[in-house]
C-alpha cells in the first residue's frame, strides 16, 4: 500500500447470529470513498481496457462473418435456445475467477466501491427483514389472543357438557319417579290440610242444631225433628264432592232427612249446589270447572 493513501478502517459489525435480538444495530463506520487514483494506475487501467476492447472487436467481427442467414419461424426458438444455453453453460464452466487488474490501487478503489454497494444493499435487506419480523410479531400476538379466546370457549363448553352430564345422571327415571311421588304426596297433604281447615271452619260457623238451642223455643211448639241422623255440613259437602268426582255422569245426590234443610237451602242459594232440573229432591255440586 502507498503511504499517501488513507488506510481502511476495520469494520466492527455485530456477529450475525445475534442480529435478530439486537433492536438497533450500531452504525458501522463508513467506508471511505476513493476517487483519486495515481496517474500510473489510470494509465495501466486504460491500457487494459484497450486490450479488452480490441479483443471485443475481434470477436464481433468473427460473429458478423459467421452470421447465419436463417429464415426460421420466430415462434420455434426452442432448439436455438437450447444450443445457446448449452454453449453459455460450457463457457461458465471453463471460466476461472480472475482479477480485474493487477494494480493494487485499482483493486482498492474498485473494492471500496463494491463494498459500498454491498453495504447499501445489505441495509435494504436489513430494513426489509426487520419490517417482516415486525409484521410476524404482530401476527403472532394476534394469533395468540385468538388462541386464548378459543381456549376459553373450549373450557366453557366442556364445563357445560360436564354439568349437563351430571344433570342427566341426576334426572334419571328413578329420580323423576321419586320427584313425582313427592309432588303427589305434597298435594295429598295439602288437600288433607284444606279439608281439615274446612272441617274446622264449618264446625265453628255452621254447627248442627242441638237440643239446647231448641230448648228456648219449646213454647212455640215448633215441631222439631231432631234426633235424626243429621249429618254435618262438612259431611254433606264431602258427599257432594265425592259424588261429583267418582260418578261424573251422575253427580246427583238425593236429599233425604239426614240433610238439615236450612243448610241445603243455603247451599242452593249461594250457588254451591244446584237442583236437578226435573227432580227437586236431587242436588249436585255446582260446576266450577
Amino acid at each position: 500500500m502507498r503511504s499517501n493513501e488513507v488506510t481502511l478502517q476495520q469494520e466492527n459489525g455485530q456477529p450475525l447470529d445475534k442480529e435478530s435480538e439486537v433492536q438497533d444495530t450500531p452504525v458501522p463506520p463508513a467506508i471511505p470513498f476513493y476517487i483519486e487514483c495515481s496517474e500510473a494506475a489510470q494509465a495501466q487501467l486504460f491500457n487494459e481496457c484497450e486490450e479488452q476492447f480490441a479483443q471485443l472487436e475481434m470477436l464481433q467481427n468473427e460473429i458478423i462473418l459467421a452470421e447465419p442467414d436463417s429464415d426460421e419461424n420466430p415462434q420455434e426458438q426452442s432448439v436455438n435456445r437450447l444450443m445457446a444455453v448449452a454453449a453459455e453453460l460450457k463457457q461458465w464452466q471453463k471460466r476461472q475467477p480472475e482479477l480485474l487488474s493487477t494494480n493494487p490501487e485499482v483493486l482498492l478503489v474498485v473494492g471500496a466501491e463494491e463494498l459500498q454497494k454491498l453495504n447499501s444493499q445489505l441495509e435494504l435487506v436489513l430494513s426489509c427483514s426487520q419490517a417482516k419480523r415486525d409484521t410476524l410479531r404482530e401476527t403472532l400476538k394476534r394469533d395468540q389472543k385468538w388462541l386464548e379466546k378459543k381456549k376459553e370457549v373450549l373450557r366453557a363448553g366442556t364445563e357445560h357438557v360436564v354439568k349437563q352430564r351430571l344433570e342427566n345422571e341426576r334426572l334419571s327415571e328413578h329420580s323423576v319417579l321419586q320427584d313425582t311421588k313427592k309432588k303427589i304426596q305434597k298435594m295429598k297433604d295439602y288437600q288433607n290440610r284444606l279439608m281439615e281447615t274446612l272441617a274446622d271452619v264449618l264446625a265453628e260457623h255452621f254447627p248442627l242444631p242441638t237440643q239446647e238451642t231448641n230448648a228456648d223455643k219449646k213454647e212455640k211448639n215448633i215441631p222439631q225433628e231432631l234426633n235424626e241422623n243429621l249429618i254435618s255440613l262438612n259431611e254433606v259437602l264431602e258427599l257432594l264432592m265425592n259424588t261429583t268426582l267418582e260418578t261424573p255422569h251422575d253427580p246427583y245426590v238425593s236429599i233425604d232427612e239426614t240433610f238439615w234443610p236450612p243448610y241445603t237451602e243455603m247451599l242452593l242459594r249461594h250457588g254451591i249446589a244446584q237442583r236437578h232440573p226435573e227432580d227437586c229432591f236431587k242436588i249436585r255440586l255446582e260446576t266450577f270447572y
Binding site: F53, L56, E57, Q60, I63, I64, E67, S70, D71, E72, P74, Q75, Q77, N80, R81, A84, V85, E88
Partner: protein
Amino acid sequence: MSLLKPFSKLPGLNTANILLVENEEQFQQKLADTVVLQEKTVNVNVRLARSLPLPMENEESRPRIDLVVFIIHLTSELSFQSAETSLKYLDPGYFQGKVCFLVTSARNVSVPPERLVSVRTLAASLHCPLLCAEDQTTEGVTTAARRLLAILKVAAGLVPMATGLYLSTLTRCTVPSDIDQQNFE
C-alpha cells in the same frame, strides 16, 4: 429481408440502446424521458419506433440495439396485432434475452381477458419476460422505466455475471395453464 440483427455492430462503451416499439406512439415518449432521467451511470439511448421493419435510411447511423421492447396496449386489438407482425422482422438471435414485452391496462375491467392470455402465450412461446405497466401515473411510469433499465443493463452486458439469456430464462413469462400444472406436481 431487413431483419434487425443483434450482433451486427460494435457495442458502444458504457452505452446501452433500447428500442421501444409501440403502435399508438403515446406511452413511448413518456417512458423514454423517464428512462433517460433515471439512469445516471450508464449512457442510455432510447429509440422509438411505430413498428418493425425500421426504415432503411437510418441503417448505417443506428447503433446496436440491446433491447427491443414491444409496448402493447390491451385496450386495443390493433396494438397486439401490430406487435405480432413486427416480430417477424426481428432476427431470431434477439429472442435470447433481448426482447421484452410491456403491457398496459392489464387491470382494466373493460379489457377482454383473452387478450392478456394471448399476449402471455406469445411471450411464453418466445421465452421472453412480460412486464405489466401502469401508464397513467408518474409513479407507474417510473416503476416501468426502472424495470426496463434493469433488464436493459443485463441485455447490454453491463452487469457482470449475468447475461440476457440467463435473465430471460429466470424471468420468462408463464401461461396460467403452466402454473396450474406446476401446482399439481
